[in-house]
């Protein structure tokens, strides 16, 4: 039996990081626009991609922000009646731009986060974050001596992948169950995690368990840092929308044969994300620098030029594209 098969009875599934997910959506968009021959076709492709992203990763702010930006470009081109060929080229340019930008801002945020990984520190991380791994890589390049604790991060157990990847960089890694975080917190100097979304009040939506870890860190006066490029900031929360958090079921905890061994009326509730309040977060590392969560409105004002940022709700944008593409 392969390791994956052995792990499948524990519900091991390769949950991708939110950065990877955004890249994947950009690839899908590129593929989708290849065959379009009308505005309507493009609208349908765009809409199905948004619907799917909202269904699969409803809390992922980056994918919404990126798709909004691309949608705005499409709207402008629809309005000025550009040819379908021109629109296709423009969308492809946009996806390339975002692919590069996401990589760049993740790297820049990671460099800023890596400054916090001081020589000799023991770091705890949870789940699997592209930007956290990048920060560890940067620290490694600088020859910093670090040690790591990684939680297995149920449901999904993608912590196993994180542990492997950090160990391959040559760092000493200890893998622990999610329940052992408080037991080991006294040995930890710093918690470093990624984010699915950052709300404007500085609350961080991340893999379930992150808020518990942050609470434990707070109790032990251990600092908590989040790596999150500004594209992960959830601007929708400005409208007072709550970040919708998806839940799964037993499928993320075990294989069907394990379920068969449990009582017939066995039920599991499996949240995938949780919200860490800003009070438990010491700093958010972005491409623009390290900020206290309370400083986020200030950054947003700087980035978007106004407070509150003047942004279009993605649903409204989709409606507008629907209207503009009719009869074309």
């Amino acid at each position: 039996m392969s390791i994956e098969e052995l792990l499948s009875k524990h519900g091991f599934s390769a949950i991708v990081s939110s950065t990877e997910y955004t890249r994947h959506v950009l690839d899908e968009l590129d593929k989708g626009i290849e065959g379009i021959s009308s505005y309507r076709d493009l609208y349908r492709v765009y809409r199905s991609i948004i619907d799917r992203a909202v269904r699969e990763r409803p809390a992922c702010a980056q994918v919404v922000n990126v798709l909004r930006d691309i949608g705005l470009a499409i709207r402008d081109m629809f309005s000025s009646r550009k040819s379908v060929g021109d629109v296709r080229v423009a969308v492809r340019e946009k996806t390339r731009y975002w692919r590069e930008r996401i990589a760049r801002e993740c790297e820049e945020a990671a460099i800023i986060a890596s400054h916090r990984l001081v020589d000799g520190a023991t770091v705890l991380t949870h789940s699997r974050s592209t930007c956290v791994l990048k920060a560890v890589e940067k620290a490694r390049e600088e020859g910093k001596k670090l040690e790591f604790y990684v939680t297995e991060s149920r449901p999904g157990m993608e912590g196993l992948l994180t542990a492997s990847e950090i160990a391959r960089m040559g760092y000493r890694v200890r893998l622990i169950v999610d329940s052992a975080v408080r037991f080991f917190m006294k040995d930890i100097d710093l918690v470093l995690v990624g984010a699915e979304a950052v709300a404007v009040n500085g609350a961080v939506v991340s893999k379930v368990g992150t808020s518990l870890i942050s609470l434990i860190a707070n109790e032990a006066r251990v600092r908590v840092f989040v790596v999150a490029p500004i594209s992960k900031f959830n601007l929708e929360t400005l409208f007072g929308e709550l970040v919708e958090l998806p839940e799964s079921d037993w499928r993320k905890l075990m294989s069907p044969d394990v379920l068969a061994s449990l009582p017939e009326n066995y039920v599991a509730r499996v949240p995938l994300y949780d919200v860490t309040p800003p009070s438990y977060i010491d700093g958010i590392a972005t491409e623009k620098g390290l900020f206290a969560p309370q400083a986020i409105p200030v950054i947003l004002k700087e980035v978007y030029g106004s407070w509150p940022p003047n942004i279009l709700d993605i649903e409204d944008l989709v409606e507008e594209l629907d209207r503009l593409s009719r009869g074309w």
Partner: protein, 328 residues
């Protein structure tokens, strides 16, 4: 002097972990003392009999050096022998009677704890429990039958998934129970009214040693102002902690967390598997024993009431009592 084969068999069963669970171990030890007394075949000399019993007592205690219920059961029986006088025949009967008394009380304790604890549960409550504890399940099921409980969340409890055993017992009793991953404890806490858990050991200052993860469940409850109840028989209170003896925390094999194949494929990752953690008394609202509900701060009084004799012995010597040394 020859020790009866049945006594050796029990001692070996405890040592080899064929006899498991704090309650079973304690009752088996009492049973072994009873058998030893009834099958005593030495000379009709009170001193020889006392020495023989002391030898058996020491042997039993040595089988599991970290267990708490085991020495407590032995102290319970041996104390009555040491404070009794009479012929060998009378002493043998005393041991048998006291051992039986311990066994009955211990079996009765779970039911008593269920009744006492259930009265502490508010009507319409949602309960969260961690791991599997017979005493905690007794409280929950009793309270459910009284119509006080609407829903129970049970954590999976990695690495061994004892939460699945809890689910089985609760579902069999008709209790609406839902499993959650250990990482979701803080996420779910705002729906919870009471946390009810068991204990492996209760220390003299009211700290509770229990399955890894208990302390972070209690912390999350404390943050949310949710009450935490610990269901624990009095024989789980540890006299040795009064003299500052630490409760040793066992690290179990890494294969309990991930398959050996994964460990071999990841030589740079060390898998750490502590099995217990310590919940400080500040996070515990009440300890439910078969003798009544106590605040954790009153643990010392329980110890003085039930094991006062052992305490005074320990204060003058080692953390563990050697009964043979007490014989002239």
């Amino acid at each position: 002097m020859e020790i009866p084969a049945k006594v050796l068999e029990i001692a070996d069963g405890i040592k080899a972990m064929r006899i498991r669970g704090a309650g079973k171990i304690a009752r088996s030890a009492a049973e072994a003392l009873k058998i030893a007394a009834l099958e005593y075949s030495g000379p009709n000399d009170e001193k020889v009999f006392r020495k023989y019993m002391a030898h058996v007592a020491d042997l039993l205690i040595s089988t599991r050096p970290t267990a708490v219920s085991l020495p407590n059961a032995v102290y319970y029986v041996m104390y009555r022998l040491m404070t009794s006088s009479g012929s060998v025949k009378e002493l043998r009967e005393t041991v048998a009677r006291v051992a039986d008394q311990f066994i009955v009380e211990s079996l009765e304790a779970v039911r008593r704890i269920g009744e006492i604890g259930a009265r502490r549960i508010k009507y319409g409550s949602t309960i969260l429990t961690h791991c599997h504890s017979t005493a905690a399940v007794s409280v929950i099921v009793t309270a459910y039958k009284m119509g006080r409980i609407e829903r129970v969340y049970s954590t999976e409890t990695r690495p061994f998934y004892q939460g699945r055993i809890t689910m089985k017992h609760l579902l069999e009793a008709g209790v609406p129970a839902v499993q959650i991953p250990d990482s979701a404890v803080r996420y779910i806490m705002h729906e919870v009214d009471h946390v009810v858990v068991g204990a492996d050991t209760v220390t003299s200052n009211g700290a509770v040693v229990n399955k890894i993860g208990t302390s972070q469940v209690a912390l999350a409850a404390h943050e949310a102002r949710v009450r935490v109840f610990v269901a624990a028989e009095t024989y789980k209170f540890s006299p040795a902690t009064v003299i500052g003896e630490l409760v040793p925390i066992e690290f179990r094999p890494p294969e309990e967390i991930v398959p050996r194949e994964w460990i071999e494929a990841n030589p740079g990752v060390e898998v750490l598997n502590p099995s217990f953690d310590v919940t400080p008394p500040e996070y515990i609202d009440a300890i439910i024993t078969e003798k009544g509900v106590i605040p954790p701060q009153a643990a010392i009084l329980v110890l003085m009431d039930y094991f006062g004799w052992a305490l005074s012995k320990m204060r003058h010597g080692e953390a563990k009592i050697r009964f043979e040394d007490t014989i002239e």
